[in-house]
């Protein structure tokens, strides 16, 4: 009993000792690799590392969440039935743009053509084509579903 008194006092400040041990081991490895990662232009590398998290959590995520919210709100409660048919192709097309924007926007076109001997011209038009197919396909599925089962008002 006597031993549990100081432990109870310490525990809320310290937290779980097992978690603490795991985290300290993890930090040792992170630090060993981290000093090597930062050897060079440490400020820019740090900026990229932390900036990636900040840009995602505080810019990209709020942006697409707000866009989705606007879509749902804009649809109104009676027309919500078509929301997924817009949301899905928009999300998929946006995903492709997010991953391939250097090629789609043409910012690496010259280097790509010079390095690989391949044309970099088609990426924008192919992305637009895939986007059109996604939205078109979604519209077709929506039309078929509507025919089979008219939406119930709510």
């Amino acid at each position: 009993m006597r031993r549990s008194v100081p432990y109870r006092m310490v525990r809320p400040v310290l937290g779980s000792p097992f978690h603490l041990l795991v985290l300290l081991c993890s930090f040792a490895l992170c630090a060993y690799a981290g000093v090597r990662l930062l050897d060079g232009d440490w400020f820019m590398v740090m900026l990229w590392f932390v900036g990636a998290a900040v840009l995602h959590d505080l810019v990209l995520l709020p942006l697409y969440a707000a866009a989705d919210r606007a879509l749902v709100k804009g649809a109104g409660s009676r027309r919500r039935v078509w929301v997924p048919y817009l949301r899905v192709p928009a999300a998929l097309s946006g995903l492709l743009l997010l991953v391939w924007f250097p090629l789609i926007t043409g910012r690496v076109s010259e280097r790509y053509a010079g390095v690989a001997g391949l044309s970099a011209d088609g990426f924008l038009s192919r992305w637009l084509l895939v986007t059109a197919v996604l939205f078109g396909g979604s519209a077709v599925v929506f039309a078929v579903r509507l025919r089979r089962r008219p939406p119930a008002d709510d």
Binding site: C30, L37, A91, V115
Partner: protein, 425 residues
Amino acid sequence: MARSFLPTRPGRGPFSPDFWRSPLRGPRFTSVLGVVLLAGITILFVTGLLSYAAYNPDLAPVNDKTPDKGILGFYLFSWPTDPPWLYRLTQGVHVTLGLALVPVLLAKLWSVVPKLFTLPPARSLTHALERISLLLLVGGALFEFTTGILNVQLDYVLPGSFYPLHFYGAWVFFGAFVAHVVLKAPVALRNLRKMREGSEGSEGSDDAADELVAPRPDRPTVSRRGALGLVGGGSLLLLATSAGRSFDGPLRETAVLTPHGGPEPGSGPNAFQINKTAAYAGIRAAETSEEAWRLAVRGRSGTVRLSRADLLGMPLHSAALPIACVEGWSTSDQWWRGVRLRDLAALVGHDDPADVFVESLQRHGAFRRAALRANQVADPRSLLALFVNGEELTLDHGHPARIIVPAAPGVLNTKWVARLTFGDL
């Protein structure tokens, strides 16, 4: 709720639990994505380490872009030459799987974003450290995916060379990833078991207290299954528009948005993927002409200078081997014909297996000089190729002569070879 007992003022905006409205968020949604990432990222890490070993960085300084690696190179081994498609497989998986995991990673981060804003910022020392570890985890994951995705598109905006950034970044990320898995995987697996045991549908009563669950959720606009379907659909879409670039012909044409996807360059026997064109590497036709070009072969017994005609006079051998790039694309087997590297080694007094230092005419580029290990030189399929698919090499494929070694990463198959130095490096 446990939260209300804490001696803090309720937060505003995103710091308030009420701010987060999606009924999708909850331990089950996060657990499914987490377990997928656990498997996927483990494969990415292992294939990444294999790719690092494939460069034989411990063989010679020219192969080593991370000389300060220290114990991080603990596992290095002599990269084998069998099976010849080994690097094609491991690196194809590394890049293609990485692309397919992008939507899973994004969804996982979305599902836990309210935790970024939890108050108080730290409940204990361990909790504070855990949040720092999460910054390394999230920053590390995004750093690794971003550097990889930019590099395969040749978008060299990175704050340094890709190799050390992606390699050391991977270890920083992995350190945080292991801690996260140790602390969270048991919970995630328990959640999945509960889901499988039946209480499918709405979050169970014991989940309601989880801080991921919105206390005042909006009306659902999509089911959890539907949302997971969208994430999986995104993965499939990325897979379908990328995987083809590990193959030739019509399959490559399906990789519509991916570098080295689409139609092959040019036509004829030399119409297969080029990593770096002769123009980009700064190769001039005058240096590669029959009169000008001589191959210097150095070794134990001195230096031999060979013209292309001299090489053609040596025994020629064939090997069907692929080209596989660190960027994740590869070609099927091409039919190469040329002089065996081990015959060239024997020419300068190395009848026993020896390492070789290869130098190109190329003026710039990280791998204009590269080293191959004795096991690679000794393989009878390792050639100084003069022909491919029955025709002379074109300038873009390394005319007058190039290295081709089974299972080696593309950049170690040096083009426009000018000098071979056999012996200890």
